[in-house]
Amino acid sequence: MKAVIDYFKDIFFGLKSLWAGMRITGRYFVSPRSIVTQKYPENRDQLQMFERYKGEVIMPHDDNNQHRCTGCGICQLNCPNGSIEIVTRKELSPEGKEVRVIDQHIYHLDMCTFCGLCVKTCPSNALIFGLDFEHAVFDRSKLIKILNKPGSSLKKELK
């Protein structure tokens, strides 16, 4: 007798769970607001990327064209595939001391895997991830970027 009851229980619970699944998919089918797909090129104007989105590595500059990069080269050392090249030069400080200054922070976007190690290890938080993601170009050389702007200098109050 127990076997018979179990048999009908099986059928009943089977149908119940199938019904539960079909209710969810049926609800999604009739609720167009649950659609997550975005029509990309059309919604370019109002497209808002997320705060933590890793679009590209950038070096933020303030209004006085100053950045925080000291040219220490830690990002270059940490980059697993050599996407970062640091070129420094020596400069005389107002006190007459010779100091190292960043000349070019060369970033190879075409090699970058967006692992984020450079951003994470930078001791002076000079690098962050930008939200721009439209990197398609017709020439690979356009993907090699120099992150520090021409004529920029180190932010002093950091010291």
Binding site: D10, I11, G14, L18, G21, M22, I24, T25, G26, Y28, F29, P32, S34, I35, V36, T37, K39
Partner: protein
């Protein structure tokens, strides 16, 4: 030739075409021309419906998965399947080494011819019927299971283990589920007292069998839906092609338009199965009636039968698509357990109940 066109009764139209042809040529030629016309009509119907069903499937699937689906080619992507068809037509038909050439080439045709044969017996409206056998249901069950021969040949001749495994699974599946399809249709044959499809539709003029047949008809309808989904090799019973295990199952080695034939046959089989469910359980092209002679019935009578037929068919097709995109695929042992341990015994008891109900004349 006098054309008497009536949207509620097509028998006048077909008779006038027949008479017109007989007036201008010998009866033999007239029948030949009629066959050619019917074949052409079905070919065009196949092409259009196939394109539409593929599009509908992709849209339904997308909406269920919170996506938009095709939306680039044409407004709301309606031309997407036409673009896909052109792509498939232009693709190379890759010849296989060590394949059985003859069987490999004829397998897609067997599959598609089986579904062509089945669609001939389906009544679309009053008088709109290629052949009206007195054993219509029997005929449809018989020819629709011919398709598995094509699938088995495709799997065997491809000389590929994926294809062979897929084909064998399909064979096991169809042999088991054919029983349930037949038995669930048998319940309605017992109720209606005829196997003629037009006769079954006429017997539902005062109410569809799913309403008239009490609970046994509902049980039979559910079993028919499950078993026929399995018979068309659609998810959750798509073990024959199980893309995560067998790449594409029996049609792994097919390319271009030969693959398109399998694809089209799958969708058309879904249409045939849905239209069988509609014809047998949901009143075919009969409008929805409650009681006798009231205003509601007259309004329903006003809607043309073709609209009723295709409307109901697409509802059932939507249900089958919902099954595919809701349920996970069954394992082969679960598939066979479901059939032999649950569907078949329930079905047999159901038929017994139906026979008793019919004997006592307890249905409406």
């Amino acid at each position: 030739m006098i054309m008497s066109f009536n949207i509620y009764d097509f028998s006048g139209l077909t008779r006038s075409i027949d008479n017109g042809l007989r007036e201008i040529m010998s009866p033999g030629w007239a029948i030949f021309i009629e066959l050619a016309i019917i074949g052409l009509v079905f070919l065009i119907f196949y092409a259009l419906l196939g394109l539409f069903l593929v599009y509908a499937e992709r849209k339904v699937c997308a909406l269920i998965q919170n996506r938009l689906g095709p939306n680039r080619v044409g407004p709301a992507g309606i031309l997407q399947t036409i673009a896909d068809l052109i792509k498939l037509l232009m693709k190379e038909l890759i010849p296989l080494k060590n394949a059985d050439k003859l069987l490999f080439n004829i397998a897609p045709f067997i599959v598609i011819i089986a579904s062509f044969m089945a669609i001939a017996a389906i009544p679309f409206a009053r008088g709109l019927h290629a052949i009206d056998f007195n054993i219509g249901i029997f005929y449809v069950i018989a020819v629709s299971s011919l398709g598995v021969v094509g699938i088995l040949l495709a799997g065997w001749s491809s000389n590929s283990k994926y294809s062979l495994i897929g084909a064998m699974r399909s064979g096991a599946q169809i042999i088991s589920y054919e029983l349930s399809v037949g038995l669930s249709l048998l319940t309605i044959i017992v109720f209606a007292g005829t196997m003629q499809l037009s006769g079954i539709v006429e017997s539902q003029a005062n109410g569809w069998w799913i309403f008239k047949g009490h609970i046994p008809a509902v049980v039979a309808f559910i079993i028919f839906l499950i078993a026929s989904t399995a018979e068309t090799n659609r998810g959750p019973f798509d073990l024959a092609e199980a893309e995560s295990e067998l790449t594409a199952g029996f049609h792994t080695e097919y390319s271009g338009i030969r693959f398109a034939f399998f694809f089209l046959a799958e969708f058309m089989n879904m249409f045939i199965v849905a239209s069988m469910a509609v014809t047998v359980f949901l009143g075919g092209w009969m409008p929805l009636h409650f009681g006798t002679d009231n205003a509601f019935n007259h309004i329903m009578d006003f809607i043309p039968p073709l609209v009723w037929f295709f409307g109901k068919t697409f509802v059932v097709i939507y249900l089958i698509m919902l099954f595919k995109w809701t349920f996970p695929r069954l394992r082969i042992d679960q598939l066979l357990t479901l059939e032999w341990k649950y569907l078949l015994p329930v079905n047999l008891v159901n038929i017994l109940v139906v026979a008793f109900l019919t004997l006592m004349e307890w249905h409406f």
